[in-house]
Assembly symmetry: C2
Homo-oligomer: 348 residues x 2
Amino acid sequence: MQALILAGGSGTRFWPLSRRHRPKQLLPLGKSGSLLRQTVERVIPSVGADGIWISTTRELVDAVARELPELPLERILAEPASRNTAPAIGWCLTRMRAEVGDDVVAALHADHRVADASSFLEALGVAERAALQGDRVITFGVPPTHPETGYGYLELGEVLDGATGLRRVTRFTEKPDRETAERFVASGDHVWNAGIFVFRPSHLLGELERLAPEIGDGLRRIAESPGDLDRLYLDLPSRSIDHAVMEKLDDLATVPLDCGWSDLGSWDALAIVLPTDEAGNATRGDVLAIDSAGCLLWAEEGQIAALGLRDLVVVRTGDTVLVAPRNRSQDVRRIVEELRERGREDLL
Amino acid sequence: MQALILAGGSGTRFWPLSRRHRPKQLLPLGKSGSLLRQTVERVIPSVGADGIWISTTRELVDAVARELPELPLERILAEPASRNTAPAIGWCLTRMRAEVGDDVVAALHADHRVADASSFLEALGVAERAALQGDRVITFGVPPTHPETGYGYLELGEVLDGATGLRRVTRFTEKPDRETAERFVASGDHVWNAGIFVFRPSHLLGELERLAPEIGDGLRRIAESPGDLDRLYLDLPSRSIDHAVMEKLDDLATVPLDCGWSDLGSWDALAIVLPTDEAGNATRGDVLAIDSAGCLLWAEEGQIAALGLRDLVVVRTGDTVLVAPRNRSQDVRRIVEELRERGREDLL
């Protein structure tokens, strides 16, 4: 099996720590090192050091190479421009093919968190066998703990393998509204989509041509005329693999994934998984907290002195400090948008 | 009249802006320049540029001289050590005497706020005449707006002059408990002590000898043996002028002071008097506030990004950031104490 790790994101939800040239996957948000490095180390037992491929952008390729100096440069695939995950995965698969043929590929995000690596690897093994046997795309279903509206939901259908829990997916619903999410969680037959896909490249590229021909055609043109990559890639439509392919597949299947997974979608999501002190504060760096509880206090540079705070996020960098209630941390992008409008390139 | 401006304080309540070598009176907390400079400029119409004297400490004398370059150095009187206001005022009066004889003196703090300077000067004139006529100490009584427990209260007695509102003070209560403060405010016959005293030096020094003989004796020894100042000053007991003298006087009088006075005793007190934006936020420096109200956001260096905050104080300096609810800002000293215990001289 090969692992294609998607590390091209330029998320703003971890501002002010995340910036244009240091997106979330390169931040040391976990126990040790960046999320990208942790993702690589997590899958190596399954794919080997030689089975690691990175999908990223030209803007980030140097930073990725610095973060993973042991990885041969030719396995860091840099898109000429950001066109979301469908063109990115499709183009990477055409590049990988020459070297690894039709080996099963696990496409996974570089910036997610997994607490229990061995459960994760076990599920990956189940998915690999299922993708080989059924020639279908295998997703990973996380038992939902709350009606999260930021995730995709998989509706569970026919049991394909009782021993492994492999089931058919009867519907794929991306980011439902609150009411729908509550209904899904209450139903007991929906799981969160972890955003990891396992498949044979020939199968996925075939489905891409069938379901999203404008992308399939574009990729074929690039393969025929590699010198025109920059121009041709720009012509590809910006689409996610979920919308372009996954939602439309009628033979999608899913394996259960119960490994402490989180997409770390916000400061609040991070605060939930970080270790805390007796008062329930998660802290990093030089922090003094008095009479404060339930806070995420992150000092990258300088000190944070917190007095009498409840459930706040405070993130201090050398040039700014973010202060917000944890339950508003989804709105941090509003700050980034406002800074962009004000032309504050220095803070982006 | 002479003005003796008390600028020796090393308050910690405006940490992290205030530090050992930059106490509150040297901070630009007002509309323009430091509180010390504003205090000087406020009293000049009453005492003239030649009537300004500064009481400070050796540690701060350079900073004070830099802040007031136009003031002759010999009118900046630096105590060898901090011994609170009773020794400081007593010693300064003995130093001033040689040059200005028994001119009436107004002793006032360098770090208070006055919104209406002309009302203030008017009250100062009333006090000067009263101190000359009655040879007594005149205090200034501020109509209380709430049961503040951090102030001293003056109980109003016999009316001495109906035209000016001069009244005898029947009791002086420093920092009462909450219940007492509430009773005082409800009574209608108590005012806040603004901490400004007007008197003839001969009268106050006489009372100091009579009511606090250990200070009076010490000052006489210093006058007799000026070469031993450093050693003798260290022997003086550390006492406030309120406790050593004012509370014990039986002929204390007070003039009404209704001029938008505040002792700016905390970040919250400052927030109350600063101009605010439409959302009720008082801001300084590079601040971006979204969905935030009632906050004091002060960026001395770098930026503050506030999202969804209510009634918080956020103060960012180059080396730290304080975050606390406004109603906890009296407890900022707890942070300073904790930093001292941890040996964090870099932040004190």
